[in-house]
Amino acid sequence: VTVTADQVAADLRDLLAEITGRDELRAIPSATALFGGGVGLDSLAGTLLLRQVQRRYGVDVAAEDLNLDSLATLGTLAAFIAGRM
């Protein structure tokens, strides 16, 4: 089964909304930054997100991406995951 980055991004929006309790995150563009302005991910929410990603896709982002550059935006994270499945 191949999963596209767009499909992963759709999943990630739902995960983000569930983790943060903010429904409006279901509609964010792919270019939205995950840290700082934008989603404003903190260390707890970010860790929970990566755990769900590992559970769902088998991709250990923290182990493969030292600088967590893949967490720059929703789109970069989706592409990183899709590229490793």
């Binding site: 991910l41 860790t47 923290a62 600088n67 967590l68 967490l71």
Partner: protein
Amino acid sequence: VASTAAGTSLIKCVVWDIDNTLLDGIYLESGEQPPPPNTVLLGVVRELAGRGVLQAVASKNPPEAAGYVAQLAGLVFAATECGWDAKPDALGRIAARLGVVDAEMAFVDDDMLERAEVAASLPGVLVLTPEDAADAASWPRFSPPVVTAEARHRGELYDDPSADVPRLHELSVRTHQLNSVGEPLTEEELGSMLSSTGHEVTTVRLADDFGDDGLVGAAIGVRVTAAQQAELTVPLVMMSCRALGRGTLDALLAWLCRSAAAAGAARIQVPCRLTERNVPFRMALVAAGFRAEPGSGSPDGRVLFSRPLAGDLPAMPDYVVSPGRP
């Protein structure tokens, strides 16, 4: 009833009891929610502190009780004696630490026996009931002629950081998810860092509507000197899991960046040992703009995360209270 010494010298230090004095209730018997403050007496504490009169606590309670009251009062006590020693002994240690003599001290306690004990052992000390103390701010002995800005800060300057050593040691042993290196430090190592001029130890205390967690985290930095002010290195950052999800680590990292920049450093670096458990710590580092330098990994698994201190620095949340806020 304890007698009140008829002294005339100015009071330089007031030592307060906590249970049924600064708090309307007993700290250890109040279950999940600590008792509310005695707002009248906390008002007196703040007023006197504002005049440069040192405020201290002597209480038969764990140290957390003093931290809780300090948070309620919004100030740092110049000295705290929490334990089960006799009150005269506690007052003696406070006097020695703050450099005041008996005749310059007042002691406030609701317990008649405690007052009697202090009055008998330390006849120079002005011994007061909480009811007496409510009026104390209007008495001449509590009114220094001139209030200087420096005097207002004396409470903070007198605060004794060595009291934090046991808790810092505990944090270095017990924190994993929010710990940069995951290696315990002994009380001796921490004590020497706290007293050394080469290290700068930043501590974080956390209180919110649900209660007071006391000291939840710390960072140990190598002080920026004029000779090598290019980079501030922070060999240890640690934070209790209780603080996870409450923005505390992010606030500490923002504080480190901003105070290093204010001290003239161009760069800040945090050696971080990558473990499966401290992903949240790495996440906070990255969120604060830190990046690992390519090839900076060392054989012991430490990777050097750093960031420049020019341009946009991480924002300090407005709920952070600190002396010399950068």
